[in-house]
């Protein structure tokens, strides 16, 4: 649910261009923390986890296009630097499928990597505090998804004036002719109708998002327990 499935041409140009610039800067900073040899060795793992995320995005758990992101479990397995590159790759491939726009790839990468990176650090924090896998994974996933949904809402809100412009554009007629008495009433009514209703959008996204956070929290917990049974070394719980 936190993935911005926004089409191209909806967000203002300055917003998605900034998204690309910030994503490049963040990527450049994160890659300074990883050695080149280590990166080369882990590229196939990155490819596999990105492929798992793409497959997760294409499996509808609930109709109306609910799907798991698998970003948190990928973040825990890959670490914060590699999850950023993985989410970029996932967004490019999903964008090429029409599952989200091409111009919003930068913004989507930032939003999804918040899930992965926060998920990684929150899991480490809760594991060190609780020493129990199930609550640590569930809480880390729930909170990471909550934060990324908030950032998605923030991104959509930044484009509010642009949506109003688009609405206003369509309301212009070829000939504008008003009687003077009606002019003021019509103008006020027009202004009210041109305003976007972000509160309504938030009121819909948050409850739907809550269902998604719970579901992904449960699924990620079950996946982590399965991995812990078969390959506990992957979760790096010691130390």
């Amino acid at each position: 649910m936190s993935h911005i499935h926004l089409p191209d041409g909806v967000l203002p140009v300055w917003l998605w261009v900034s998204g690309f610039i910030i994503a490049i800067l963040v990527g450049a900073i994160l890659f300074r923390f990883i050695k080149k040899e280590d990166l080369a060795r882990r590229l196939p793992l990155l490819g596999m986890m990105a492929a798992a995320m793409v497959l997760g995005a294409s499996v509808e758990i609930v109709p109306i296009a609910y799907h798991v992101n698998l970003t948190v479990i990928s973040g825990i397995l890959l670490g914060p630097s590699l999850i950023f590159l993985a989410t970029f790759v996932v967004n490019v491939i999903l964008g090429l499928f029409g599952h989200g726009g091409i111009t919003v790839i930068g913004l989507n990468t930032l939003v999804l990597s918040i899930e992965g990176i926060l998920g990684y650090f929150l899991f480490r924090l809760f594991w060190s505090l609780l020493r129990r896998l199930t609550p640590a994974i569930f809480l880390a996933t729930f909170l990471a998804l909550f934060c990324s949904t908030l950032s998605m809402i923030g991104v959509v809100s930044l484009g509010a004036s642009h949506y109003e412009e688009l609405i206003h554009q369509e309301r212009k007629g070829i000939i504008e002719f008003h009687l003077s008495k009606e002019n003021e009433d019509q103008h006020q009514e027009g202004v009210a109708e041109n305003k976007v209703n972000l509160k309504r959008f938030i009121a819909i996204v948050l409850p739907l998002g809550f269902i998604g956070w719970m579901m992904e929290g449960v699924i990620t917990t079950l996946i982590a327990r399965y991995i812990h049974r078969l390959r506990p070394d992957l979760l790096r719980l010691e130390g």
Binding site: D8, M48, M49, A52, E170, I204, I219
Partner: protein, 208 residues
């Protein structure tokens, strides 16, 4: 995702004029479509753009079953009905932008093999990103094979049923867990075989 292998097949085996066009020109064309989507703000312009893309879609003899892929993103565009307060013209504008974007990319994918797209992207993106893209693309097919095998085990354990939500969630999670572990094992073997073949941070394409 099953459509991915079919799209790949169409892109490689298609014989229309669009299939024979250079990948660079098609990507430039897609960039022009994106420019149109971003700059056009009236319905007539977007309808014209969508009409052109639909014409290309049908004269390239792309099967109709692929057309449904272009409609999927409309599900998310529905959220904009609530933002705009049910302004019909605004909603139509958004829907047309969505359809133009999705039709354009599906057209590109169905007529251009992925390695050709990645090779062109390699001229503008760092080699690390393109290598990651290529490895992800390859891994999707590996995981799809694993998923096919896992599906039988899933059905034997009851699969996905609304009447048993907890069991269903358990089954799906075990399937994804199995997929991830198999994928990690496959990635370790992939790295070893790539190193044996001289891999050093970059994948080279034929013709370079």
């Amino acid at each position: 995702m099953i459509q991915l292998s079919y799209l790949d097949y169409l892109a490689a085996e298609g014989k229309s004029w669009l299939h024979h066009l250079s990948p660079k020109l098609k990507i430039i064309g897609m960039a022009l479509v994106l420019l149109g989507i971003v700059t056009l703000r009236n319905l007539s312009g977007l309808i014209l753009l969508y009409g052109i893309l639909l014409t290309f879609f049908f004269i390239s003899r792309i099967p109709l079953r692929i057309f449904s892929l272009t409609l999927y993103p409309l599900i998310f565009a529905i959220l904009f009905i609530f933002i705009s307060g049910f302004q019909i013209l605004f909603i139509l504008l958004i829907f047309l932008k969505v359809l133009c974007g999705s039709t354009g990319v599906v057209l590109l994918l169905a007529t251009t093999p992925y390695p050709s797209i990645f090779r062109v992207l390699g001229r503008v993106l760092p080699s690390l990103f393109v290598t990651a893209l290529f490895l992800t693309y390859r891994s999707i097919f590996i995981l799809l094979n694993v998923l096919e095998e896992t599906q039988h085990a899933l059905y034997l354990r009851g699969g996905f049923q609304w009447r048993h939500p907890w069991r269903s969630l358990n089954n799906i999670s075990n399937a994804f867990g199995h997929l991830i572990i198999k994928g990690i094992d496959a990635s370790e073997r992939m790295y070893e075989s790539m190193v044996l073949r001289g891999f050093k941070n970059k994948i080279h394409y034929r013709g370079e």
